[in-house]
Structures are given as C-alpha cells and as structure tokens.
Symmetry: D2
Subunit: 333 residues, 4 copies
C-alpha cells in the first residue's frame, strides 16, 4: 500500500482526490493538509464537503512541517495554488515522493512563461525540465518515467484531446489558427466566495479573452498557435470545448475519422460519439466525450469533460495508475 | 414632480427601485446613495447592475451629508441594513420627507422585538409607533396617513397574503399553529460574496429553523403563532410559501373560497389561481399568485411572489402610489 | 454469480440499476428489457443514456417472451409502470426469481388502496400479502425472507426515514397530523416528454395537493395520518422533505436525539447531520441525510435523498445486498 | 389606434407580443389566434402563459376565417411556423394589413434558399422581393417603406449586430470565414414537449453543426461566408454569440472601436460595453449588449440578446415603431 497525501484538501479537486484514494486498492490515505493558516485547518473534510460524510471523514491538518509529511508519504497530490506547488513540489521530490501536481507550476518548460502568465520567476528549472505533462492518453511513457507529473489544466485537457489527433496526423492548416470556444462550470474558479461566483451574478459570458494562461499552455503542447476564448457557464461542473479548424487541402472526412479513431481506440476514457457531446453525459465521470463534423475544408470538433475529474483529479489518478502500472481505470469508475 | 432619493442603491432592491422611479410619471430621481465608505461609491449604478445601462446610468454617491440630502428629497426609499435604516429614517422624517423603509427597523411595534431578533435597542419609539406596516392590500388607510411606511419583509408578504384572509374571517383553528414552509431565491440574501451564496454551494436546504426573524414579524401582524421554516432554493428570484392550516369545525370549502376572493376582489396585484401557483409566473413581476385546496378539516394555501418586487421594491412603490393617491399600478407593469 | 435482469431499462432508474449491476461482484447482467412495442427496443442503453457509454453498452431488448426471460434470471428488477409490474411480477416469481419491484404495485397490503389510488383492482393478493416493503433500514428481516421486495417510493423513503424514529419511539402527538412538505427533482416524473417537464415550464410549485398516492403509502407504513404536499423543483435529481410535528407533552430534545441516533447508529447510509441537510450532498449518492431541531413542543426534521438512488435504484440494490447477505454497501459507493 | 392581431399567440413569442401590444399607446389588441385545430383554441392566453394573468386575459381563438380577421386588422404579427407564415402573409397583405412576420418565410430573397433549408418551394416571390429584412438598427428606411417586414431570427440578430459594423467598414479579412459560436436558451426551440427540451435532458451541447438554417440567413445578409455553430444552453432565455474574425492587414484597435461606436451611437437598444457582455443583463430586456477585444490580427466580438425579445418579439415591435414613426422604444421598456 502506498501512503498517499493530499495537499490542498479543502478545495473541490482535493475532495474528489480524497474519494478516489479511499476507493483505490493500492493506496492508503495518509494525510489531508491545508495551508497552516487556513481557517479550515482542524475541521473534518466532511464538514467542508458534506457529500464526503461516511466516505472520508478525516480531519484536514495544517501543513506546518513539510519535511515530516514528505517522510511519511509515497505519493503526494498537490491540489494547491501555482506558487504553493512551485515551492512545495521540490521538497517532496527530494524526499523521494512521487508528486502529481494539479497546478500550473510545472506544465510548460519555458522560462519566460512563468513571469508572463503566472507572475513569478520559476526557481526549479531542473524539475520543470524533467516533469512529465500528464495528458494521460498521449504521454504514457513520460508519465511512467517521471517522478513529477504536471497534470494539465481543465481547458487544456478538453482542447488538446480534441485537437491533437488532427494536428499530430498533419491534417490541420495551422496557418489559420484553430478557434477554441469553451464554457466551464463555476467550480473551475475554485472554492471561494467572490462576487463573480455569487449565485445571483453568474450567467453565461466570455472572460479572459486573449489573456487566459491556458492559451499558451495549449499552444505550447500542441505546437501551434490557437485562439482560446473561455466562458463561464451557469452550471457547477463540466467543460464543453467547441473547436473550429481549417483542414489542409485534400483532407477528407475519412482522414479525420481515421485520425481520431486511431488516436483513442485503446483509450477507454475517451469516448468517440456519433453525435456532438452533451455536458451531462460526462459530469461526475472521468470520461472525455468527443464528436466532430467536416464540411468542405473545415472541421468542427467538440469535447466535453468534467472539469474537476478528467480536467483535474481523475486525470491525476489516471496518471498514478499509469505510473505505477495499475489498471488504468482503478478507482475511477 | 416629487424628488425621490434611494439610499442603498448598490443592492438588488435599490436597482429595482431605480428602474421604477425612472418609469414613474410623478417621480423624478434626485439621487442614488450608498454608505460613505462603500467601494461602490462614485460608480455608475449601471456598472454595478449591468441590466440598468441605458435605463438608469446615474452615479451612486457616498452618503456623507444626510441633512443636505434630506433637504433635497420629497420621497426617500431606504434599501439599507436594519441598523442603518433605524438611524437614518428619523433624520429624513424630521426634514419632512416621506420615508419608505425596506428594512426591518420599523416593522414591529414592540420594544422587546428589536433586542431579541435584531440585536439592537430601538431608539425611536415614537416613529416606530406611528409607522404604517406597508402590507399594501391590507393597510391602505394607514399607508395613506403615515409619514413612515415600513415595507414588509419578503417572507412575511408571501405568508400573510396567503394566511390573512382566513384568519381575519375567523376560519382557522389557530390553536394548531399554521405551518409555513417557504423557499426563497438567493437574491433574498442580498448582493454580497459569501460561501453560502457561492454558485457551487447553493442547493435546496432549510435554514434559520425556529430562529428566523421573519417568524415573529408574521406572528405579530397576523395575531397568532406560526411555525415558519425558510429554505434556500437554487434560483435567483422569487419566494414560494406553502401553508398548512387546520380549519375550525364546520368550516367549508365555500367559506374558504369566499374569504379569499372577498379579500382580493379589488386588489389587482393579487391573482387567485384555479391551480397552485408557479414561481416563474411571478418572477420579475409585482404580482402575488395564490392557490389553495381544502380537504376535511385542513386547508393548504400556497402563494408566490418575486422577493425583490412584491417582497420589497414594487410593494414599496405600491405604497408610494397608495400614499400619494396615484393609480395603484403606476410604474409597476 | 446471479443472473440479473432489468425490466424497464430505458428509464432513469433502469439506467442507474444497470451501472450498479455492472459494479456488483456477485451479479452478472443477463438482460436489459423494455416493453415489446417501445421505440427504444434494439438500441444500446448507452444511446438512450449517454453517460453509460463505456460502462454499460448492452442493447435494450423487447420483452416478448417473459417466461423465457424468467428462466434465465435469478434476480429481476422491475423498473416498470405500476400496472406492468403488477402483471409481470407473478410470472417471474412463479419461476423462482427474486423480484425487486420499484413500482407501487406491491407496496400497500390493502385491497382498497389500488382501485382508489392506482386505478386498478389488484389481482395478486397472495403476492401482495407476502411482499416485503423494502425500506432498507427498517425492514431487514422481511427483506431477507421475502421473494418479492416492493421498494418504497422516493417521497415515502425520504419521509419515513425522517419520521419513523420518532413515531416508533412514541414521541409524536399524532392527533396533530405531521406536515410533510417535499420538493422533488424533475427526474421523479420519469423519462418522457411532457409540457410539465419541459425545461421552459419547470419552476417551483406544489402539485398533487391532498391527492398524491404517496400520502397513503406513507400513512399506511407509519401507522398515522400525515399531510403530504409534494412540489416540483427546478433541479434534475434529489428530494428534500421538511416535516413539522408536534411532540407529546414532556418530550425533550434529548429524547428526540436519542430516538434518531439509536435508529440509525448501525445504518451506514443514513447520515445524521448537526445542521439541516443540503440537497447537493446527496445527489448521485445512496445516502439519506437527516437534520432536526426542537423548539417547545414542536420538532422539525428534514431529510434529503437522491430520488433515483436511495429513492429507487440504490435502495433496490441495498435490498439485494440485505436479501442475499452481501455487505450492505456493495456496488453502492 | 391601430387594430393589432397576433397569429400564433400560444407560443412564447406570441405571449411577449401580447404584453407589448397592451402597453403600446397607439395599438389596440384586436385578436389573438391559434391554428384552427390547436388544442389551445378557446383558452385564455393567461391559462397558457400564467404570467400574463391580470395583464392580458383575452382568449386565443381558432383562426378559421383568415379574410374576416384580415378585414378587422391594421397590423398583424405572425408568430407562426415558416410554412404557415408563407401561406398567411399574402392574405393579410392583400387586405392592406401591415405584416410583421417572425418566421423565416420572407427573410432571404433567393429562390433556392427555401427548398434547401426550409423544405418547401416559395410561392410568393413578389412579396419575398419586396419584404424588408427587419434588422432594426440597420434597415430603417426599408422598414419604413415596406408593407411586409421579415423580422430576423434570434441567432442572426445577435450575430449580425456584432459582425456587421466591421464588415460594413471593410475591416474584416473575410477570406478567413468569421467563426460564430452561439449558445441559446431553450425557449428558442418553441413551446412544445420533446425529449430534447425535457428538463432532465437539457445540458450544454452543440447542435445543427454546419446545417442550421440561420447560417445562410446570416451569410446572405452579411455578404460573406461564416461558420455558425449553435449550442443549446441550460437556461430558459437569451443568446450569447462569440465571434472570432481575422482583421485585414493594418487594421488597428482604434479602427474597430470607431466602426462599432459609429454604427450604434444613435441606437438606444444596442449597448456597447467596456467588458464582455453577460447574458443576465439582457434577459427579459429589448437590448443587445456588445463587447469586443483586438489582439494582433484577430478580433473577438461578443453579443448578447434575449432570444424572445430582441431576437423576435421586441424587435418586431421596434419595427412597428420605426414603420409608423412612433418613438423607437415605445412599449419596449
């Protein structure tokens, strides 16, 4: 049994991780932590997330002595803010822990990226260079080999799973930038009280136009420019991404079908649909549903995921399964 | 034209009042105010409430010199916290303004009520004694005569409009307390950022069981005990109240029908339905819909209102119309 | 492995059952059926319920030869209309199947009940008499012994789990009828297209006042009269029931606490909360959350369940686990 | 007073029209009609649309004698299916009525359009040729002059109001087709019971990809190709359209600002926002909110409207006001 620690257990992704660790036959939950000054420290996780009562009732503890926690952990999930992950990950890594980081701190191996999009200079270039990017269906070998797995963001997961088969197969005319329109549920903003997230203020609208940090994450890993426009939707969970692309001259509908089907034929968590995906079919599931259609020289691909699961926690657990050689779906269904 | 001032214009009820004042042919909007230290001071009201753009674009000003504002106002709406209304109302009243207070500061003429349920000693017993309780369909003469009108709370409006016809007609066995179950939209909690109001945390649940301050407000004005259980619902606007009562021996369905129909036959804003009321029929309207059913010795009456309108702002404007003798529906439809 | 058949697999409860059967280590899914003339016959269940893709992809077959299906089944779930269950259950029972019926066809052992509330004469008084009422936390021995288990309705499950501890302990003054106000999600009406269930028409409202067939089901099994007022809520899943009762003279808060805690201290699927229950904590879970409060001679108890799970499918599976002696939570979490 | 008739009064747009006709000081409601075989014929419109009670309570009558109705009408709103409008409009026009058609029957002056996208041959080429396209902010003179006004569809209104200023000013590189992603509320599908519109089945998803009939309507009136991807959203009312376009070389942010501001500076129902538009700011209003942002050679413009009002009924009434010379906002606010 691998001793498994969750840092950032008061948030929505931390709660999902806790449930999965409890279900996992090879993991044992060795500790739930929040930052030392959090008002939630000392409470039961089920007091913060009522749905966990009777499933996980452990207390969330203040993270005061990181080294002590590291010594008692084999696997560490970091469901923490970017800067916190940036600072904590190296400590756990140096103690030999396997680290699955759900933040953006180790996703893009480019020194200019962090000051520009995250507002801090990256201090751990070595770990950054050796981190695997945990897009589970695409980076199996890296996930197996790395000690640090940077789990992709929610929008990048939905977007890349839809676009990557076509770009990798050389079917897209990337001179004309793919246009990604995506709508996220409100849990994507985290568990906190803001006017933007107030029930009375939420209604569909675009935000972060041309400035969202997930745009360069997507571009960096796809290897092409994209236009990414996120929207806030009036639902709690899920992301729907609709992507419009120009195909290279001569690319047929059959070429598109083959590229997508080949990419995912052995991947049980990506479901290729005959129709366009529906958000509710993936909410509270670890799946990514993909639908697509070609007309003339354009293709539209749509993908749907649960932002907290395939866009965060269940993909992190999927990376655990891949890394340690457990069946890929363990604790996910 | 009556110069009309709204204090507390940054909140949801303030915004609704501003729209109605603009529509009212006999009122002119002379000022929108927020507390002097509010972060909203100086902004356009349409920046706070985007739907007002092009309708009301005036700035909300910091309320620094109350007396100066009072001198320039004929009509004052107080859409302010209870303690603020308690302190401000007398200043406006002493300058001769007609004051329509949407808070709880002058609703119950009982000195023990305020320390117990609002946490402060009432300092203005004289004004409290002379305030009209603005339940518009029932207190027409008092609303005409008073200088200060205490507009009822949202739950009390929905509850009393449903119960009062039967209690006044002497049909209810009040030894067995009427049971009021009511569900309110989230705007009822005001415009602010809290975890309770966070989009991701809102789902149907009871709150304030046996302790909500609207219970004694209802009991006081009905003249009988009630059990009042409020719930938070997953919608923005509206209240549905479902009330179960025991009838006195021998009371028939016809007696109930007569009492309800007689009470409201000349009241255009109360609609007696053949069926039970639906929340969406009253959302964003000034109406109260009422439905009822008798079986054996029990009656169930349900009522639905928009909590921000008939439960606050439009009832305040209805009181203005009654007080000054304008047609009752002016600016309401 | 027990061969398990689901009749009525095109509905919402059928889909939930299919997922649980797949997860259950002692059950094997031997067939999904719909009525012979259903337009859904022949389709994959994942075409009807997109979220099942990759989990259960079996076709739903037309039920043409009931006897043949019975011969190949050890366990049968009937997720069918009342009349259909009434006709089908005896066939399966006579072939030795264990039948778990989610309809109302065998819930109330009273010959007058069916003509009055379901519109048909019951033809199978023998089976009716011997059916266990599958309120899992209360009727363990009957569920173990019976060949036919009538799984309670969604409202009756929520209501009885809240009321029964107090009535059984003799704490309630039932001369004054308990008042049950309950709000259900729209899935409670089944998977079909009606104006009432149209997205644009749904908003909170009472329905079936004094006439809902769940009222006599509740009264019959509690052994006291109740007033039951159901409401339709603007959410997909879940029921919240708020119950107001008068306590017998001299009953204390401690008495109430003891009755409730004693009733459920060994029951892992009922969670007694310090606060009132929240709907979202039970949605998509098999739990029932209960909260309560006493003031003077009144008690308010609220309970929340997922209407499709604890109110139907997961309680049916819980009965399977009890009947066959599997751990009670198998396939439920 | 102009005698005003609404055909198709049982639908959502018909109900909105009825409210506006009642408010309009120059119009008198002379009749509400539904098709002769409708089950709604004979009912009060307030029975179909509960929110109208006390505002419009007229009966909806079966349309049996079109000529007789035409003789008693000055203004006719057709809130009817495309084929019905196609057949009815000429009858009313020949009797001298002014016809405001909310269907697609007269929107595109192209004989091939109707067989391809609406499934019928157009029989009234003369009226089609002389119809004004009622995009109110752009076609004032045509709306003044024509006897038949074809009010644009909901998606085309939102899309064109956002795109047209830039295309008309010659700023867009239309070689690269503008990409329109739009999300509509469920009322856009009309008032009817279908599985697609069932409360339990609605969740965000694309539909009609590459095949929606609003795509050629938009292209035809803009004069350039577009890619239009509609989505169904989990809300009742409103449309948000997000449009991505490539600018011609050398076009600056200032050029874009000038084009948009110039287009609407005298148009009170189009509100140019500093930020991206929010759906709830336009729900139940006649406004179109527009926001935009430029980066490099791309521009993103987003627009929001209420699909039943600016996307249908209030734009029809705006056309009435323009046609007859009433103040543009009459009966709209």
């Amino acid at each position: 049994m691998l001793k498994t620690t969750i840092i950032g257990a008061s948030g929505y992704t931390g709660a999902e991780l806790a449930i999965m660790v409890k279900k996992h036959p090879a993991l044992t939950l060795s500790g739930l932590y929040v930052s030392a000054n959090s008002l939630d420290a000392g409470k039961s996780i089920a007091e913060l997330h009522g749905q966990l009562a009777g499933i996980v009732d452990d207390a969330v503890l203040p993270l005061t002595d990181v080294e002590a926690v590291a010594k008692q952990s084999d696997v560490v999930f970091l469901a923490t803010a970017h800067e916190v992950s940036h600072d904590l990950a190296p400590v756990f890594l140096e103690h030999g822990c396997k680290v699955f980081d759900l933040s953006g701190a180790f996703r893009v191996n480019n020194s200019e990226f962090y000051p520009t999009f995250y507002g801090f200079e990256h201090q751990h270039g070595g770990w950054l260079e050796n981190a695997a990017y945990g897009l589970a269906e695409w980076n199996v070998q890296q996930i197996k080999d790395a000690q640090l797995i940077a789990v992709p963001g929610c929008y990048p997961t939905a977007s890349q799973l839809a676009i990557k088969p076509l770009v990798e197969a050389g079917l897209v005319d990337t001179q004309q930038w793919p246009v990604i329109n995506a709508v996220s549920g409100v849990t994507g903003a985290g568990r906190k009280a803001t006017m933007t997230n107030s029930f009375c203020e939420v209604s569909l609208h675009p935000y972060g136009v041309f400035t969202h940090r997930h745009q360069p994450e997507i571009s960096s890993h796809l290897g092409c420019d994209v236009i990414f426009t996120p929207h806030l939707g009036n639902f709690k969970r899920g992301i729907l991404a609709t992507i419009t692309m120009k195909l290279k001259a001569g690319v047929s509908e059959q070429d598109v079908a083959k590229a997508i089907n080949d990419a995912y034929k052995e991947k049980p968590l990506v479901r290729i649909k005959n129709a366009m995906p529906q958000l509710q079919n993936v909410q509270k599931t670890p799946f990514c549903d993909i639908g697509w259609k070609v007309q003339g020289e354009h293709v539209i691909v749509a993908s749907a995921i649960d932002n907290l699961l395939k866009g965060a926690s269940s993909q992190a657990m999927q990376c655990v399964n891949i890394h340690f050689g457990y069946p890929e779906l363990t604790a996910l269904l």
